[in-house]
């Protein structure tokens, strides 16, 4: 259990800009990781994303998830900064 694993996180708008225009980043993580743990690792490993990540939500397979949601392997993971559509 808790095998090492990498998770790809999709970036948009200001988050993508903070990552020099990249549309995704890789987070080194492990199995059975929760959404809140992943957010912490994302901020630790990609410092430029930290300020906006703190105000963002995580979407797994295109649904917002709660902090204790365990991220399934193979799922689409997206960092959703505060939205401003309309």
């Amino acid at each position: 259990m808790n095998e090492p694993r990498t998770i790809e996180v999709l970036l948009f708008a200001g988050a993508s800009e903070a990552a020099d225009g990249a549309d995704r980043v890789i987070v080194r993580s492990h199995d059975h990781i929760t959404a809140s743990e992943l957010m912490k690792q994302l901020a630790d490993q990609h410092a430029a994303l930290a300020p906006l990540a703190r105000r963002s939500r995580l979407a797994i397979d295109q649904r917002y998830v709660s902090a204790d949601h365990v991220i399934p392997s193979g799922a689409e993971v997206a960092l959703i900064p505060p939205v401003s559509g309309g």
Partner: protein
């Protein structure tokens, strides 16, 4: 609501579109007969256009927008817009709901979002359009970048304390 809660009739009552094209011609093409909102029991039809504004006034400060540019998590945004529309049909007893959102550059005076509703009575459509816009701006993964006359560009990520100044 999950997809299984929507019926076939409900499905037909909803039209959602995320597009890189101008929205006005899409509406104009149907506006004289309004097939998107038409229903024999509809007594009220309402069309809201959210349009790029030139000036934004915040207290004493006036900023001049050149244009807005929108991006989205497209697949997720379409799913959420559909869900939003279906929920509104149930919640406000609507006959039809249309939600169109434009992506890419939207010049001054053009619509970034158009919401249409029809209902038996006007209050339901007025409440529905207000609610759909509130929820869209809170939850749907679409972002705007403001581009000023000065050349500056800025992604808008509103927080409870710093609201989106360019909001419609």
């Amino acid at each position: 609501m999950p997809a299984q809660s929507t019926t076939d009739e409900d499905f037909d009552s909803v039209h959602v579109c995320l597009t890189d094209e101008p929205l006005e011609p899409m509406i104009a093409a149907t506006s004289s007969e309004e097939p998107w909102l038409a229903h024999p029991d509809a007594g009220a039809m309402l069309w809201f256009h959210g349009v790029t504004r030139r000036k934004t006034v915040q207290g004493d400060r006036v900023t001049v927008t050149k244009e807005l540019s929108y991006t989205a998590h497209r697949e997720m945004a379409v799913k959420q817009l559909k869900e939003l529309a279906h929920n509104a049909v149930q919640e406000f007893t609507l006959h039809r709901v249309v939600i169109l959102h434009r992506l890419g550059v939207v010049p001054i005076g053009q619509a970034s979002v158009i919401v249409g509703c029809s209902s038996s009575h006007r209050v339901a459509s007025l409440d529905a359009v207000a609610t759909i816009m509130d929820r869209l701006k809170k939850d749907v993964p679409i972002w705007k970048q403001e581009r000023f006359e000065s050349g500056d560009r800025q992604w808008i990520h509103p927080s409870p304390t710093t609201d989106d100044p360019t909001t419609h």
